[in-house]
Amino acid sequence: MEIKLKLNGKNILASVEADTVLLDFLRDKGCLSVKRGCDTSNCGLCTVLMDGKPILSCSTLAVRADGHEIHTLEGLQEEASDFVGFIADQGADQCGFCNPGLVMNTIALLRENPDPTDDEIRAYLAGNLCRCSGYDGQLRGIRNYLNSRKA
């Protein structure tokens, strides 16, 4: 079936099958930052923004994007660049496979709540699994970014 959506600022028209999931559709469109980690909505690796809200693209049919606006990390490089260097400065990127989902959800968090507490950060990002870093380095990075904005 035909769908119309705005992907990273560009209007696109695409033909998809009824059972195509958004994750596969987006990767097929070259948005390779979107990762598959689990298939069961548990890991957060496939997080993208639909109309500005974070969703799990592994559990969203591509047809559900019809008439909506989707952002992947490819389309938010500048916004991400503001803060990811602080995570890099902690060495917390590690293997990196969870990073795009984490970065997307952090963007959503900071848009919603520009000055979150540590516990609010932990709660908002709880669905983003990371097996390498033990999470605290990611938190230190985000905290340092927030502090740098206040300075």
């Binding site: 980690g37 890099a88 293997c95 990002l125 097996r131 033990g134 605290d136």
Partner: protein, 763 residues
Amino acid sequence: MEHKEYKSINKSVRKKDSMQLLLGKPVYTDDVTPKDALVVKILRSPHANAMVESINTAAAKKVPGVVDIYTWEDVPQTRFAIAGQTFPEPSPYDRLIIDRHVRFAGDVVAIIAAETEKAALKAMKLIKVKYEILEAVLDFRTAKDNPVLVHPEDDWFPPCQVGGDPKRNLVASDDEIHGDVEGILAECDIVLERTYHTKAFNQAMMEPFTAYASFDRYGRLHVISSTQIVFHTRRILSRALGIPKSKIRVEKPRIGGGFGAKQTAVCDVYPAFVAMKTGRPAMVTYTREESQIAGSPRHEMEITVKLGATKEGKIRVMDLYTLSNTGAYGEHGPTTVGLSGHKAIPLYTGSLEAHRFHYDVVYTNRQAAGAYRGYGATQGIFAVESIVSELAEQLGMDATAIRDMNMIKEGMVMPAYYNEIASACALDRCMEHCRRMFNWEERSKVRDMGNGKVRTAGVAMGMQGSCISNVDVGSATLKLSEDGTYNLIIGAADMGTGCDTILAQMVAELMDCHVDDVAVFGADTDVSPYDSGSYASSTTYITGQAVVKACAELKKRICSIAADMLGCEGEKVEFAGSVVRRIHTDQTVSLTDIAYKSQVNNTTPAESTATHTSPVSPPPYMVGMVEIELDKRTGKVEILDYMAVVDCGIPINPNLARIQTEGGIVQGIGHTLIENVTYDRKGRPAEASFMQYKVPTRQDMGRLHVEFEHSYEPTGPFGAKSIGEIVINTPAPAIAHAIYRATGKWFRELPITPEQIAMSLID
């Protein structure tokens, strides 16, 4: 201990790939390989032990888009092992690409190659298989000498003699005794004997197993794989497919986590086989379910420790028996078990007069186990540290004081660790440091919070090695470029740990340049100098020393070229970073000029390759302390604080060493409290997805605090030892100790679930 000021060593520089990873650039196997590859899917056995009586693929092959389907009749009949180990491997050759005899629920029955995933999955449903279902060996305690054999075949082959006998379901066995174990046990005031059980925990790296295979412009098989072991994978594929190594190239792009899972060539053979059969590119990516049920998890172990001590708390003797479950195939079976003793017993070298370590490794009809961070030491240390805490509690001693009295100290010979000398050991300082930082005296007290909840703390020590002594080989090639920058080429695999960066830091230090001036490439069997691969906590320690050697040799060569240019003898010049200077003069030539000179009328290479190995494997050491809040009504354990002090020698990059530690602790908290492995009656793992296999989230781990105590390892680069594995070893015994203090109950099986705790508290 040496105190040196460095420019690039012991500095927290960013990982070289950080920004690429954080900005989501396409750097992983599935991102960098062409999209037109055939999709490879695997039909897996629903039975734990069965013979494929007949298999009919006719209907499945008719599905549009299906290219071919392969069964046991189509594969080479040479048995091989997929463990990434140095040849000759201790792991037995016990696999075929597809075996008619399927040995666990999840074993390969057919390989489907199709144009699309959809076609492959449709075909999978249409394959008709008739199984002769055989009795299965599911309980590893009954495996040895069981009449049901997991590997009855006659062509089972052990490249090394490790005490295995497939006619007894044995993969390996051994018994070593040092001193008069029985005599000393008889003299001891107190003897404890306890049995501990740890399960087949999954690494659960975020990127599932994946590999791609195609033919390159010379018609050679080109495999791009998420692997820690490019050279071993080439050797494994060569044997499995029956083609020469010169016809195979294996490379890795960035790896989405490994933790040892990718020290086994879990999936590489399938796309390689399909590419060989079809002549077309082929790609396999395991689902999370496949990664959980047909991956390469930790060896389940049951460890019985007998410990003898004086009433003052001096630990005199330890007897440790490990029964290890390798599952259906023997990958890493003969070796992981060794660490359960060799990297647990030596923690008490300070007082032990005798020890015995004996083990059996058995086959069962379970998913084959493999390498997982800690590699047996994790299991052994859970047992040894738990029984020592139990001894302390029985004697009414403080659990840190009993360790002060008995622990390994610098300079001691470790009879339980191949008689190696603890040449760099700050374990005593780690304990003192952690005790102070944690405020052990106060926080270890049992405090009733008045709401059914209790707070208290637990402690544990840990050790590991740095490489496999006398086995692991690391190499590095360093090349000078025309602008005075360098290329470092390695065969070790950065799986997120940051080894590309820390090895570049070593180059920067020695060549007196900036880390940004060192470009790193790894790993590719066509390009990289030989390296065993990234495992066994070896990369910093072994490949690092290869880098040190390569730098020294390249400096000599650069000086030699420069001396020619300056018209003097080689020994009359000195290397000074961006220039080479004629000694006692201000005559210099720049690295740029030297590099250009090396490209004209020259026979001295402006590059160098060096190789390193080590006769010893110096242990890093660690102390972990945990404060918990335990709800006596529900059994829920909340981690409040985890503090650790690590002695990894001199950390090359303190930030990366800290992240390794934090990550390892959280992974350890996972297998201690929430990651369970249970099976249905047919032997299939119940925790087949992240819905059931719960790895810790950022709300499950409390607060972490990691610090370091430096020692200086004389055989390591810049005094470094390892960090990657040791960090997973303290959570289980420390948390079990805290739970005892809160409840008065010892839990000797992992994970320790709220149900078990709550049920144990019902009188």
